[in-house]
């Protein structure tokens, strides 16, 4: 790559010494530190001649680099490598660089740099495999690989609505631990099937390869992209989870009137499959949030409620709405760092379609609506009044909104400042709603005359 003035300007400003490297007569490379001056107008770097200097007209590599030591390591890593021939002048050793390579972790964060070089890792493993006459693959322990492949920690998105559905049914006097356990298993299996199917289709569509800024919370498992697992293996795994979830779901349906639960479950499975699968590919059309809201809101919650109560209720429908909004917002925020890669792969998610201000504004209004629904529901007696305790998570919502405003364009900062908190917002609000139900159920069972605040 030809060296432009901006690179020379950085070399002039950001480094304090250079190392000139050449190959000596004995074939060993020799690197020697030296001072330098940059002449941007002439496009040359003049090195103070060190005592051990390259021969005239030698091909050299000059490197300038910088780190800032920290107690636990170092930061501010940056370097520029230059190549060209040096010639002696009365000013010193003059290099008119022909090519350069540079990295500055402030411009390309280390995690992104590591994603950009994944093809290099694959080339290395292929070469090693050829040398050994067999395949060499990267490894992870079974436990880590299972966790990464299934993204099991995201099961909270399933556990919360199902527990709330069970709690709402229990509040009306219907409750079976056995059925609740089976419902959780069915929902979890379908969710795991969805997580893995998402990776199958993100791999085949090129979305994983195009996304160079995945985070702990976004960008999928990438196990196929990294070569940890074969595509066929996870496709089979996904199908197995779906089959297990569907099987349990059919059993649960058979224990009720069948068709209401059947259609609810079928809708849930269809939405989860076509979330990323062609021909619908809902997430590619900006419908991902609605799909997730429906699947992890009303479908999960009403399904769990119906298994217990064998009927639907307005209360359960109402309760599912704030949960649906919050889980949709988890996806919504997680799509923010993925938006460049998603756009490249044709995934027209809402953060791809909308401006920064619109994305943040919709987030703020949505969390506001969530809390309004909880407050109105509790005050109006649609939900048990103790569910008002869920408003205690408002500070988390404020924190996430501020993080979005501040760190919208910095995925790795947003990962720590906003994305994790946004997942907690769904989890803690759901758990507090559940706690509200448990308090109301307990009061109803234990107290003769239940005060209004506990009903």
């Amino acid at each position: 790559m030809a060296v432009d003035a901006s690179v020379l300007g950085e070399i002039e400003e950001d480094f304090d010494h250079a190392v000139v490297v050449f190959v000596g007569a004995d074939g060993y490379p020799v690197g020697v530190a030296t001072d330098y001056r940059v002449d941007i107008d002439r496009g040359v770097i003049t090195l103070a001649p060190p005592s051990v200097a390259p021969p005239p007209d030698a091909e050299v590599n000059v490197i300038v680099s910088h780190i800032r030591p920290q107690e636990t390591g170092y930061d501010e890593r940056r370097y520029v490598q230059l190549w060209g021939r040096v010639r002696r002048t009365d000013r010193g050793l003059e290099l008119a660089p022909e090519r350069f390579h540079t990295w500055d972790e402030k411009k390309v964060p280390f995690f992104q740099y590591s994603e950009l070089t994944v093809p290099q890792a694959h080339r290395y493993l292929r070469r090693l495999g050829r040398e050994r006459g067999g395949e060499v693959r990267p490894k992870l322990s079974f436990g880590w690989l299972a966790l990464r492949t299934t993204r099991a920690p995201f099961l909270t998105a399933t556990i919360i609505p199902i527990l709330l559905g069970v709690a709402a049914a229990a509040a009306s006097g219907r409750w079976s631990l056995f059925l609740a356990g089976l419902t959780l298993l069915a929902g979890s299996f379908v969710h795991l099937g969805l997580n893995i199917a998402n990776d199958v289709f993100d791999t085949t569509s090129g979305a994983d390869a195009a996304n160079t800024t995945p985070t702990q919370f976004s960008g999928g498992s990438r196990v196929v992209h990294y070569g940890l697992v074969r595509l066929r293996t996870i496709a089979l795994l996904s199908a197995s989870f779906y089959l297990a979830g569907i099987g349990i779901g059919l059993y649960l349906a058979a224990r009720t009137d069948f068709w209401p639960l059947f259609w609810l479950g079928a809708a849930g499975v269809a939405i989860s499959v076509f979330y990323t699968a062609p021909p619908l590919r809902l997430v590619h059309r900006g419908l991902g949030e609605i799909a997730v809201a429906l699947g992890f809101g009303p479908i999960m919650l009403l399904g769990a409620y119906f298994v217990q109560a064998q009927r639907f209720s307005f209360e359960a429908v109402y309760l599912s709405v704030p949960v649906a909004i919050l889980i949709a917002l988890v996806l919504y925020v997680n799509e923010i760092p993925d938006r460049a890669g998603d756009a490249a792969a044709g995934k027209r998610t809402l953060p791809v379609r909308w401006s920064r201000d619109t994305v943040i504004g919709v987030y703020a209004w949505s969390v506001g609506l969530t809390y309004a629904l909880i407050a109105v529901g509790a005050v109006a007696g649609i939900l048990p009044r103790p569910t008002l305790i869920a408003l205690a998570t408002i500070p988390i919502a404020i924190k996430v909104t501020r993080a979005l405003r501040r760190d919208y364009d910095d995925p790795y900062v947003l990962m720590f400042s906003g994305m994790g908190s946004n997942i907690k917002l769904h989890l803690f609000t759901g758990l507090l709603l559940l706690a509200g139900y448990l308090v109301a159920i307990g009061a109803d069972r234990l107290l003769e005359d239940v005060p209004a605040i506990l009903r």
Binding site: N61, I67, W83, S114, Q120
Partner: protein
């Protein structure tokens, strides 16, 4: 007491960064900033397979050099002398998942944050697939006080042709 001059050992033990140079197939040198590790006999560098071009160069041409030039890049007092070590490198990559781990204690000593990162290797799995570069020093150049405008002290070690 190790196999290198005392000032070179001091630099290698304390430096957080060195300039590691390999030679490409076309004969041109390529230099990478890396963290040097030293066990009293050999110099060790290690590379993730994500940044593995240098490994192919080493395997094709084992003649390399390691220079410590940033005197202030330490956790304590500045390094006294600038050094350049010329040596022969071998890439150890029997198992990219585990072979390199024998130098992990030396790495953590210089970069303690590596320990919690390593425990979370699931977060960046390809980064932790690595190869070890073991360098046998052949010649050492020491520039006292970091003054490279003055001739270096030259130490020839066994095995230089």
């Amino acid at each position: 007491m190790g196999s290198l001059p005392e000032s070179a050992e001091d630099a290698l033990r304390r430096a957080l960064v060195c300039e590691f140079t390999v030679i490409r197939a076309d004969g041109r040198p390529v230099t990478h900033p890396m963290i040097p590790l030293y066990d009293g006999e050999k110099i060790y560098l290690h590379s993730s397979i994500l940044f593995s071009k240098k490994l192919a160069h080493v395997k094709a041409n084992p003649k390399v050099s390691v220079a410590v030039t940033d005197l202030s890049a330490t956790h304590g007092e500045p390094i006294r002398d600038r050094i350049t070590v010329l040596g022969d490198a071998v890439v150890q990559e029997d198992d990219p998942h585990t072979t390199w781990q024998r130098i992990l204690p030396l790495w953590i000593e210089k970069e303690p944050i590596v320990e919690p990162f390593y425990k979370q290797r699931v977060a960046l799995p390809l980064f932790w697939e690595r190869a070890l570069i073991e360098i046998t020093p052949r010649r050492v150049l020491v520039w006292e006080g970091g003054r490279t405008d003055r001739p270096p002290a030259l130490y020839e070690l066994a095995g230089v042709a």
